[in-house]
């Protein structure tokens, strides 16, 4: 009895001993912009940061979220022996990229309920973003959300790195996140959470921009800003290429 009391006292006393100040966190990414050029085939990003008031039981969760996209998900059904896309559901504001890196497997850091409450982790994020769709339909949207998750994982756009966060001495930490070849362009947000007893007690965010550069940017902007002129340019180039081929091979 007395022993148990002492233990609980010691447990209560421990955090107060080590954290004389409220926990806080700072973080930065190695890049503020990532440029997609002709030779882009993915890139590694490092997020580093420091915490104050971190205890031995605390864990770090890093999330990198890409620009939101509107999706349509269709279920394939067999009609006359052919698989046909049917039963469409529209989902708005679904992140095109979602990577999570943690210092421990996520399920050991917090309960699914706690994660759902704070919207951390892909299932929680998708569930929150899909709420308007769920309200509009009587169908079960879970298979649709699973399909979104599978489609993202196939292209490495949705990724989870258990123990992807390395905790160094003195409250410093480092997370490595990789951007795949199919990385969408747009504004990204990196969020860093300090978890204590299954709850996020401090957080910090940093931003990242992924954009096309060089020839990629020139062609993309040309094609989108002056689409008709671009179309004519493509035709002229094609005819010139055809003429060059004619000169090179047909004239003797």
């Amino acid at each position: 009895m007395i022993g148990a009391l002492l233990v609980s006292l010691a447990l209560q006393g421990q955090p107060t001993l080590l954290t004389s100040e409220p926990p806080s966190i700072v973080a930065a990414l190695t890049h503020e912009t990532v440029e997609i050029r002709e030779d882009f085939s993915g890139q590694e990003l490092v997020l580093y940061g420091a915490t104050r008031g971190m205890t031995i039981q605390d864990e770090i969760v890093v999330v990198l979220r890409g620009p939101a996209r509107d999706l349509r998900v269709m279920e394939k059904q067999r009609n006359f022996g052919i698989w046909v896309n049917s039963a469409p559901l529209e989902f708005e504001n679904i992140p095109s990229y979602y990577a999570i890196a943690t210092s421990l497997p996520l399920e050991e850091i917090a309960t699914p309920e706690s994660l759902a409450g704070s919207g951390i982790g892909l299932p929680a994020t998708l569930a929150i973003r899909a709420a308007p769709t769920a309200a509009q339909t009587e169908r079960d949207i879970r298979p649709y959300l699973d399909a979104i998750g599978r489609a993202g994982s196939r292209n490495d756009l949705y990724a989870e790195a258990q123990r992807g966060v390395e905790i160094l001495d003195g409250g410093l930490f480092r997370a490595t996140i990789s951007l795949p070849p199919l990385t969408p362009v747009g504004n990204y947000v990196a969020e860093v959470y300090l978890f204590r007893d299954g709850r996020a007690v401090a957080s910090r965010s940093a931003s990242l921009r992924v954009e096309k550069a060089g020839l990629e940017r020139f062609v993309y902007e040309f094609a989108h800003d002056w689409p008709w002129l671009y179309g004519l340019f493509c035709v002229v180039l094609a005819v010139l290429a055809g003429y060059a081929g004619y000169l090179a091979f047909n004239r003797r």
């Binding site: 002709e38 896309n85 979104i148 489609a151 199919l182 003429y243 004619y246």
Partner: protein, 312 residues
């Protein structure tokens, strides 16, 4: 060496693209066909979004038909008047096709529609070509006896001759209604927009068997129509859907121009009937592969599409 395609927005190996261009170019040089019906499905298989593959193919066919059309223009082996009529129909078909394409894409049914179009057209054309060439080979082996009536003599009157709005075509030596050429051109223009093909595999047989044009002007006239219809399709797809990838088109063109030269050389050593039987085999193989993909249970029973683009 990877290259990131600015409009398709994926990273692909340059040598895969050059190799595809050269391989399909080789076959098209050997068989004297455009090769769009082979290239477009191959682009799907390497992961190019269907909308980008079809539009970019129109641009590439524009390049490859330009050099062929120029050669025929110089040799005067094209019927300009007939070509312009086919082109008028083709332009209307292309405009309609691009609209249909955009509409079906908004419904999420474009991939299925493209596949069904391929299976239908390739199945019919491949089957007919195969029967034709088997008969020709059998006939040749039977002793080369010419079938009575083939080629020579005056042509018989058909329903085509009863149509109104007749016009004279001095180059082809024809006096026929303008309706069949415009209709054929329209069909081919629609195919160019929806399937990313030049449509020579439909137009050439139609010109020979329906319009009964002399064979020496058929290929040149067909290339003339294809050049302008694919040029129009390129501009429309770029202007309306922003789905033409110039980097992809140019890489395929470079491979294609070189491949076609070697293909043409290889083709000279083969007999025409055997070439046609081989081409029929390939057409049927592509048809069966696409047909199989329609009926086999897919790996994922759900499809995730981004608004205004292909897959996620």
């Amino acid at each position: 060496m990877q290259i990131y395609l600015p409009i398709a927005e994926i990273s692909v190996n340059v040598f895969v693209l050059l190799g595809l261009g050269a391989g399909v170019g080789f076959l098209s040089g050997m068989f004297g066909v455009g090769g769009g019906f082979l290239m477009t499905p191959l682009l799907f298989f390497i992961g190019i979004p269907p909308a980008v593959a079809v539009s970019t193919q129109a641009n590439q066919i524009c390049a490859s038909s330009a050099s062929g059309a120029l050669a025929h223009w110089k040799r005067k082996t094209l019927d300009l008047k007939m070509g312009l009529l086919l082109l008028a129909g083709g332009s209307a078909g292309s405009i309609l096709g691009v609209q249909l394409f955009a509409y079906l894409r908004s419904l999420g049914q474009i991939d299925l529609f493209i596949s069904l179009s391929y299976v239908g057209f390739l199945g019919i054309i491949g089957g007919l070509m195969f029967l034709e060439s088997v008969r020709a080979i059998l006939r040749r082996n039977a002793g080369g006896a010419r079938r009575a009536g083939a080629g020579g003599g005056r042509r018989r009157r058909t329903w085509i001759d009863r149509l109104p709005f007749k016009m004279r075509f001095p180059t082809s030596g024809l006096y026929i209604s303008v309706i069949p050429p415009v209709a054929i051109g329209f069909l081919v223009g629609t195919l160019a927009a929806i399937m990313g093909v030049g449509g020579g595999f439909v137009m050439v047989p139609a010109m020979i068997y329906i319009l009964r044009m002399p064979t020496n002007v058929v290929v040149g006239t067909s290339l003339f129509q294809i050049l302008f219809v694919t040029a129009l399709t390129t501009v429309l797809q770029a202007g309306q859907n922003q789905t033409v990838d110039i980097v992809l088109a140019m890489l395929l063109t470079v491979g294609g121009v070189i491949g076609a030269q070697f293909g043409a050389r290889a083709g000279r050593h083969m007999k025409a009937e055997e070439l046609r039987a081989l081409l029929a085999f390939m057409v049927i193989a592509v048809c069966l592969k696409l047909g199989w993909d329609l009926v086999v249970t897919p790996a994922d029973l759900f499809e995730v599409m981004q608004h205004g683009r292909g897959g996620l």
